[in-house]
């Protein structure tokens, strides 16, 4: 049963006539997409824009898997209407790292500390951690846990993830040059 039937609203229409042009900055480059009122940011990221690194977990803004940065702040892309991305600067997991696919310092720390298991939550974790480090470059473990409280991981038990962010924030990760 669709939620629309329960709510009494009309069914979702994907007719192009419903869509309007939305322009924003995506990973540093200007983009334009057509978005219906019912499209959320994650819909246009994974759909029209083909960036499937951003994952949808709960669809209700509670699990953090869909976290992206909007104007430098971590937000859940599953509850942000795509039209409200107009004029904003959006960074997704695809916007990190080098042009040749090199991982950035934070991503390397996740790999080196075993902060990745099944990987589903990882892009959201990395984006939330990135947003923390932007505001607080050397967070304490308690601050890391508070900042990541909105990101669920069912594999790692969080210890390795906190260690990874701690390392990225304290220079313990020196780029993997030493192994």
């Amino acid at each position: 049963m669709s939620a629309c039937a329960q709510g009494g609203g009309a069914p979702v229409s994907h007719a192009p006539a419903d869509k309007v042009r939305v322009a924003f900055t995506l990973n540093g480059a200007p983009v334009e997409v057509l978005a219906a009122a019912t499209d959320r940011l994650i819909d246009v990221l994974r759909g029209a824009l083909g960036l499937v690194g951003t994952r949808e977990g709960c669809g209700a803004g509670e699990c953090g898997s869909c976290t992206v940065e909007v104007d430098g702040r971590a937000v859940p892309s599953c509850i942000l209407p795509a039209r409200e991305a107009e004029g904003r600067s959006i960074t997704t997991i695809e916007g990190l790292g080098g042009p040749g696919g090199e991982l950035d310092r934070l991503q390397r720390a996740f790999v080196e500390h075993g902060g990745v298991q099944c990987g589903f939550c990882t892009p959201g974790m990395v984006m939330a951690a990135r947003s923390l480090l932007r505001r607080n470059p050397h967070p304490s473990p308690a601050e890391i846990r508070t900042a990541l409280a909105g990101n669920l991981c069912r594999c790692t038990g969080y210890v390795q993830i906190v260690a990874a962010v701690d390392a990225a924030g304290h220079g313990a990760d020196d780029g993997g040059a030493h192994g």
């Binding site: 009122a37 937000v75 942000l80 209407p81 508070t146 909105g150």
Partner: protein, 304 residues
């Protein structure tokens, strides 16, 4: 998960917002941060024909403070804006505590204080402290403007006195007072993320070591934020060391009307009200004393 069809409007001025409210009234929902509305829409709990997004109206998110007029939060001021603002940290630490208790980093970065109030959830973390602090809200419609004490905004769970064409435009919190402290404490099953099972805001003003005035406001234990007037008034004239002081939460624990639900039983909520009122008063007292000392040590900084 998908949303039901609706017309989205992104007005760019307050006048346009008010015109849309006048035109669509009951069929429309105003969207501030959207963290509650979009989830309810995706679950089919609400299906507005028209959504009026406020994000493109400049100035609605302003947070202003001055020592004479106090703190003003526009309707688009986000929870994280309150949490990070130095004037809030310096003069309204209990508001920062309530903001910190609200949801997660990601939600705080989108959700607004005004939205938290307008959703009128009995467990809204930001309501008790603002009520205790004497906040008022300005409601604006094409018909004009009215200002009411925040406590009068709430009618019941999910219900406010807002007319279909009214917008909660801003929240005003009176300026800080000397020898006065407030605190907000909440409990939830998990330490973050989930909704508070009990929230307690308490505050007091001390004069000559005795309570001149006190406020106690409870969240999540009644259909609307519960203002424990009698218990707060009974503290007048007491010293923080008096026997009545730590027992101040006993009466409101009896007087409130908590439900038992998935988050906590009614009995547990009552017991925790008593505990949290005591602890919040202790923290508020410490703040009032610290403030009093600071002002005595440097009288030149006393504000009129």
């Amino acid at each position: 998960m998908s949303l039901c069809k609706f017309a989205y409007h992104g007005p760019e001025t307050l006048d346009e917002v008010l015109a849309l409210l006048a035109e669509h009234g009951p069929a429309a929902r105003v969207m501030a941060g959207g963290t509650d509305l979009v989830v309810k829409m995706s679950r089919g709990q609400v299906a507005p024909a028209v959504v009026i997004g406020l994000k493109r109206v400049p100035g609605l998110g302003d947070l202003r403070f001055d020592p004479v007029h106090g703190l003003e939060l526009g309707c688009m001021t986000r929870v994280s804006d309150v949490l990070e603002h130095p004037a809030v940290a310096a003069h309204y630490p209990a508001l920062a505590e309530a903001a910190q208790a609200t949801a997660t980093v990601q939600i705080r970065n989108m959700a607004t204080i005004a939205g938290n109030l307008c959703n009128a959830s009995p467990c809204a973390d930001n309501a008790p402290t603002l009520i205790a602090r004497g906040a008022s809200v300005e409601l604006r419609s094409p018909r004009g403007s009215r200002t009411l004490p925040l406590a009068e905004l709430f009618r019941g769970p999910g219900q406010t006195v807002l007319a279909p064409d009214e917008l909660l435009l801003c929240i005003t919190v009176p300026p800080p007072r000397a020898a006065t402290g407030f605190a907000y404490l909440s409990l939830s099953q998990r330490s973050a993320v989930d909704v508070s099972a009990v929230g307690v805001a308490a505050g007091l003003t001390l004069a000559d070591g005795r309570v001149a005035e006190a406020r106690i406001v409870l969240g999540a234990v009644a259909p609307t934020p519960f203002v424990a007037t009698a218990a707060a008034d009974a503290l007048r004239g007491q010293r923080p060391a008096d026997e009545a002081f730590p027992a101040a939460g006993d009466a409101p624990a009896e007087a409130c009307s908590p439900l038992g639900d998935v988050r906590a039983s009614a009995g547990y909520r009552r017991k925790m009200v008593a505990v949290l009122v005591r602890r919040a008063l202790e923290r508020a007292t410490a703040r009032a004393l610290a403030d009093g000392r600071a002002r005595t040590a440097r009288p030149a900084e006393v504000t009129p």
